[in-house]
Every structure is written in C-alpha cells, then in structure tokens.
C-alpha cells in the first residue's frame, strides 16, 4: 500500500495448522498497513472473537475440526458485520467457492498461490473489491 496508514487494518486468522498460522503472523508483522489481532483453531468461537477484536479482515481456512466454517460464516453475515472474510484454503473446488460466496465471503484465495497474492487480495478487499485469485477463477470457469 502506498497511502499513508493512519490506521492499521486488523487481521484475524482462523486456521488449525500452527505452521500456517505462524508463517502468516510472521509475514503480516512485516506489513505496515496490516496488523495481527489473533487466531482461532476452528470457526466455533468466531462470533465471540469478532465481537471482542473487531477485525477488518478474517482469513478463514475451510478444512478444520469443529463446525463447518462456511455454515458459521453464513450465520454471521449481515449488514451489521463489518469484518470482511476471505477464504484462504488449499481446497479449490467450484462447489466450495460458490458456497463461500453465498455464505458472505469477500474473496477466495488458494493457499497454493503464495502469500503475496494473499496480501494483495486483503488490501483489495479492504478497498471494497471482491477478489478471487486466478487459480480460483480458473476452476470456476472450467
């Protein structure tokens, strides 16, 4: 981001893989416009966490123990919810992509496409854009 960061956007990560979480935390710590507000190993406590931390962006994995993250997301989605959820998953399937969008996601990024794509997508979503990474888009068109 080139604009002056008066305020850092708050990022929440929901992923059960501690290596991924740690890597993302590390990567985010080097961004001037983004800040790490915490993580969850499943989507069960997401509503509470949103209440407490008021994140701007949520990175949501899909393959986790506990409740179906997309079900949780569709229950949360409302105009009152300010956090923008981006699905960040190694699973890239048309049915999952469609479900995620219908549940209220602002974006869908494949874990295989790298962290740069993720960071760029987060910024675009924060800017009000709906984002699908290129691998996701190609699966959707196939």
């Amino acid at each position: 981001m080139t604009e002056a960061p008066a305020k850092k956007h708050r990022v929440l990560c929901v992923d059960d893989n501690p290596h991924v979480v740690e890597a993302l935390r590390s990567r985010l710590s080097r961004q001037q416009d983004l800040t790490w507000v915490g993580c969850l190993p499943d989507a069960d406590g997401l509503a509470e966490m949103l209440e407490r931390e008021s994140p701007d962006v949520v990175l949501l994995d899909l393959d986790m123990p506990g409740r179906d993250p997309l079900e949780v997301l569709s229950e949360l989605s409302s105009e009152a919810m300010t956090a923008r959820v981006i699905v960040f998953s190694g699973h890239v399937r048309k049915d999952l992509i469609n479900r995620a969008i219908n549940a209220g996601a602002w974006g869908y990024i494949s874990k295989g496409e790298g962290e740069e794509v993720l960071l760029e997508s987060m910024r675009r979503v924060l800017h009000g854009e709906f984002v699908l990474s290129s691998e996701v888009r190609s699966i959707l068109d196939a």
Binding site: E22, L24, N98, A142
Partner: protein, 638 residues
C-alpha cells in the same frame, strides 16, 4: 335280305334247297326281316322281327306295316312306298318305330323292292336293325364330349385368370401348354420348343446360377419326383429379374415313366423384397442393439473409471491441499531467512530450497488439478495452454519413471476451450502410457509440444519407445484394449483421453512406428483468449445497495469483459444491474439489458429478475445471458 313268297311249290329240288337255306338264314338273323306288299301289308315276319317288335308272326302278318310306325311318322311310309315304286332302294334310313308294347325304338332300315320273275314290282323287303343302344351310346358320347369341352373351356378360363403361371411340358421339358400369366411372367410367349424347363433365360438358386438342363425341374422330370415351393431368382430375356416360387407334379405314362410335368410358378418379388427388408431391418436392429450394448458397456466402464479417477482425484486433492498448507510456512520462513543477514553461500542454499519449494508447489497445484469437478460447467473459458503447462508440467513429470526425460516446447498464445482438469488428465494418461513403454530404458524420452497451426492447437505427446504394431494402433482407442497386464491397466486410459478430447471438440491422431516410438496428436479448435476487462464488450452499471453483492457483481462483469462504471453513459451501456427499488431500476431504458435484484420479472423485454438475494450461480448465469444474448448467442450455447 330275302323274300318269302308263299305257294311256290313247283320249284326244282336244288333250287328248293337253296331257298330253304335262304329262309333259314332269314329266320335266324338278328335283324328284323320283313316283307310287305305295295299296299303296305306285312307278308312275312322273321324271328328277329318278333324279338325286336314283340309281335308273333300270326299277330302281325297281314296287318299294315304302319302298325309299327309311330303316328307322327306315318307319312314316312308313303314316302318309302313312293320311292320303292320308282325302283329306288332305301339304305340305312334311321328312324323310330314302335314295339308291340308301345316302346319307341331307334332302327336303321334298309328297304329293297321285290320283283316277280317278269321284273314286276310286287312288294318290298325291309330289314330293320335295332340301333337304340347304339344311338344311346353315341348320344351319351356326344353329351360327354360336350361336357368335356365345357369343362376344358372352364379350365382354360380358370387358367387364364389364375394369378400364377401354369404350363405343361413333355419329358424333355418342352412347353406344350401355358397360360397367359406364364407368358407374362416369362416376358414373352414361347414358340413351342424354344423354352425348356422353366421358361426363363437364367435361373439362380441360393445365389448360384443353374443351367436349365441340370436344374431341379430337369431333375424332377428325370426322377419323377414332385417339387414344392422352390425359390429362384429368374432372369427374363430382356434382362429384368423376378423372384419366383416353383412347384410341379410329374405326369407318368402307362409304364410309370415320367411323361411330362405340370408346373406352377408365381412372382414372389414383392414378398422377397419384403422379406429382405425385414431381414435388413432385423440386422439393423441387431446391430443397433449390439452398438447400444457396446456403448452401455463403454459408458459403464467409463463410469467405473471415472469413479476410480474421482477417488484418485480426492486423494490427490487431499495431498495437494496438505502440501499447499505446509508450503505456506516454508515459503514465509525462506523469505524471512533471505531478508536476514546471510552469507552468499547461505543465500544460495535458501535459493535452492526456494526452487525446490516452488517445484513442490507446482506439484501440489497439479495434484489438485487431478480432481474431477462434480460441477463441470457446460461453459468453458479458453485455457491458456502455456499457463496451464506451468502447473501441469510437474504432475506430468511425475507420471514418468525417473530414467525418462521430459522435454517440452510450448508456444505462447495457444488457447483451447477445455477444462483444466480434463486436459491434465488426458496428458497425464498419455505420459503415463509413454512412461510404461519406456520403463528400464536409459535413453527414454517424452516430448510434449504445444503449438498453434492453421486455426488449430496441437498438443503433441511423443515418445521414443518401442512403438505399436498396426493392429495395436488400430485398436488401442477401443475400450478394454490393453497391451499391459490387467493388474496395472484397465485398458480404458485411452478411451478416457478420447472422451475428454472429444468433449472439447478435439480429435486424437496416433502415429507410431515399430522401434521408433509413438506420437499422440491432440488437435483442438483454437480459441480466442479469455476475455479480460474492458475488451470492447461495452460498459455496465451497477446500482446495488449491499456493498459485498455490488463488489461480487462488479467482479463478475469485469471478468466477462465489461467496463463497470458508477453512472450510466446513455447509449453505450450494455448491462445494468440494480436493486428493484433503486433509482436505476425506475429507468429501465438505461441499458440494453437490465438485471434486477427483485423477486418478480418486469413486463419490459430485456429485463430479468433474479431474486432479491440471489445465489452466485444465478447471478453468474443471468450476467452471462445479459452480456452474450445479443452479440454471441451461439457462443453461449457451448
């Protein structure tokens, strides 16, 4: 013939003897011999007369001869007497006479004048023969001849009216009689000896030409055996053909030897054609059933294969997913390492790990591409093959044994409308086959070439393996055909390849040379590159309150090649998407196509309502319709 003149005793003895003899002859004759005077009075009456007419001599002598004549014929006597007086003799005059008991009998009369020694006519002798039996017999003969003629006429009428050909022939097969239909079927009227055995020019039985002299009719005539419903194809003198059915019965002579035959034949061309049509239909039906059965088996096998591939795909996706997960921290850590104060050697190590991680990432991507998408769309955007190869290369490489080299030559700018997983599976299968063929070879090489050529995109997979025999090459695309052992092959890999390629309107060509190698050429129609934002499809406006839905719709419209603006620009606007209660919805002339986030369709044409809170699938379909319906109706149908 004789006369009896009573009272002539002065006759000398020898003469008297002769007269006695004559009298005895007359007396013992079977015929009636009667003499009468010129007045018609009976003067003598022999035993024959008594037998024929029933009168004893004493009952009739002296009575008029008209006693014997039926009243309606009495005038005959006057006529006879008149002719006698003229000296005429009446011979074999056939007439009717009456017996004592009133029966009328047919008689043949011979009446001769009787003269005295001076030549004076003194009476007449009458010989009457009873010809009643003879007359009846000849009458009966006449009647039966008439009946025979009538019956023959009836038979001829029947024969001429019969719808079948009938002819008679002698033992040599020469036609002695034929009906009208026979001549009609033969196509000409035979003139006696020119037609033998069947009347046709040539005859074929069961497709084989048979000479008349050796044919079944000649044999039947030789052996005296009947023939029933023999079917032949007969050729007429004018070259036309009919199907005929022939039956015959042999006539035997008194000695029991064949004397000839009556032959009946009919045109069964219509039945033969119908039977042939029925046979053809039956065969066609059987073929259709066989083809359907084959198709069913194939599709069943394809289903089994795709089930296997689906489970393989699920496994691949799982592994790909886990790999992608693990690579996130690897990449992040490498990045952190690279940013730290490392020596040049350390940085080189980091770079080597990064390259390996990148390869692993491609492998993970490739594994994910192996999954069969359960929601395969009918609309496939053009796939950039050089971009695809970047992801697919690793998975294709993995299909080959370690010793086999993978070479690739991929031209930029080749696009094909095919699903990514579909193409990956097809090329993966072909590479795997090539790898099998090259197993154990130190110089094994598989080359993938992608190029654009004359409106087509060629995906070529070539190996330097042992090649295929012509037989293998001809059949290797058939289901269940395999050169591998069943344990490692279903024999369906190439069927799947062919199916996937066909689905993308492509073709598969196989070139193979024994000892040189095999080349699979997949040819696809070249497609234009996928649309990018603002490639001339016009502009769209979006007036949707919900920020996320607005963004989703905007992203989809851009993906479809439209420039999205915040306010309508009059005539150039192609598509407008708006909430039902928005300002824009109130001015429906704002764009050529309007998609409303509303429950109910408006009346105006070009306006489609997709629900207030539509699913993304509906949104996507509606936007595609709105964008393509005018410009590329055909393309959307794909």
């Amino acid at each position: 013939m004789g006369e009896s003149a009573p009272g002539m005793d002065s006759t000398p003895a020898p003469l008297s003897d002769a007269r006695g003899l004559l009298a005895a002859i007359v007396e013992s004759s079977d015929d009636a011999i009667v003499s009468k005077t010129l007045d018609g009075l009976i003067t003598s009456w022999n035993r024959g007369a008594q037998r024929i007419f029933g009168y004893a001599p004493d009952e009739i002598i002296g009575r008029p001869v008209t006693t014997l004549i039926p009243p309606e014929r009495v005038h005959e006597e006057a006529d006879i007497l008149q002719r006698l007086r003229r000296g005429e003799r009446i011979e074999h005059y056939e007439t009717v006479r009456m017996t004592k008991d009133g029966r009328l009998i047919n008689v043949s009369l011979t009446v001769s004048p009787v003269r005295d020694a001076s030549g004076r006519l003194i009476g007449a002798s009458k010989v009457a023969r009873d010809i009643t039996a003879q007359k009846r017999a000849s009458e009966a003969l006449r009647r039966s001849e008439g009946a025979l003629a009538a019956s023959e006429a009836r038979l001829l009428t029947i024969l001429s009216l019969l719808p079948v050909g009938v002819y008679a022939c002698d033992r040599e097969g020469r036609v002695t009689f034929f009906n009208a239909r026979a001549a009609e079927l033969w196509g000409h009227e035979p003139s006696g000896l020119d037609v033998r055995f069947c009347g046709f020019c040539k005859v074929r039985i069961d497709g084989k030409e048979v000479e008349p002299e050796r044919g079944p009719i000649a044999r039947a005539l030789r052996e005296g055996a009947p023939l029933r419903d023999l079917e032949v194809v007969a050729e007429r003198h004018d070259g036309t053909q009919i199907h005929a059915s022939i039956s015959l019965d042999v006539r035997l002579d008194e000695a029991g030897r064949p004397a000839g035959a009556i032959v009946v034949f009919q045109d069964i061309s219509v039945q033969a054609a119908a039977r042939q049509a029925l046979r053809d239909q039956h065969r066609a039906l059987e073929e259709a059933v066989a083809a359907r059965t084959r198709e069913l088996e194939e599709s069943h096998q394809r289903l089994r294969l795709s089930e296997r591939l689906a489970s393989l795909g699920t496994l691949s996706v799982g592994i790909g997913h886990d790999m992608a997960n693990l690579l996130v921290p690897v990449r992040v850590s490498l990045e952190a390492l690279a940013a730290s104060n490392l020596s040049a050697a350390g940085l080189a190590e980091v770079e080597r790990i990064r390259v390996s991680a990148q390869y692993l990432q491609q492998l993970a991507n490739g594994l994910r591409m192996m999954a069969l998408d359960p929601e395969r769309s009918t609309w496939v955007d053009a796939l950039d093959l050089s971009q695809w190869w970047g992801d697919a290369r690793a998975i294709v490489k993995n299909a080959l044994p370690r010793c086999v080299t993978l070479e690739a030559s991929v031209a930029e700018g080749c696009h094909v409308r095919i699903s990514r997983p579909g193409l990956t599976q097809a090329v993966f299968n072909l590479a795997q086959n090539a790898g099998e063929a090259l197993k154990g070879r130190a110089d094994g090489k598989v080359r993938v070439e992608i190029k654009c050529q004359g409106g087509q995109v060629w995906v070529v997979i070539e190996d330097n393996g042992p090649g295929m025999t012509e037989d293998v090459r001809a059949h290797c695309m058939e289901p269940f055909f395999t050169t591998k052992t069943r344990a490692i092959s279903t024999g369906l890999g190439l069927v799947l390849v062919s199916g996937l390629v066909r689905e993308a309107s492509g073709t598969v060509e196989i070139r193979s040379k024994l000892g040189k190698g095999t080349t699979f050429i997949l040819r696809f129609p070249a497609a234009s590159p996928a649309r990018t934002e603002d490639d001339g499809r016009g502009t769209a406006v979006v007036d949707v309150r919900d920020a996320r839905m607005r963004s989703v719709i905007t992203a989809e419209l851009r993906h479809l090649g439209l420039r999205v603006e915040s306010t309508p620009t009059a005539a150039q606007t192609a598509v407008a998407v708006a909430d039902a209660d928005s300002e824009m919805a109130k001015r429906r002339d704002v764009a050529r196509r309007v998609v409303l986030l509303a429950e109910k369709n408006g009346e105006a044409s070009g306006v489609e309502a997709i629900g207030a809170n539509p699913k993304i699938e509906l949104v996507r379909q509606a936007l595609r319709r709105a964008v393509f319906v005018d410009a590329e109706a055909g393309e959307v149908g794909r």
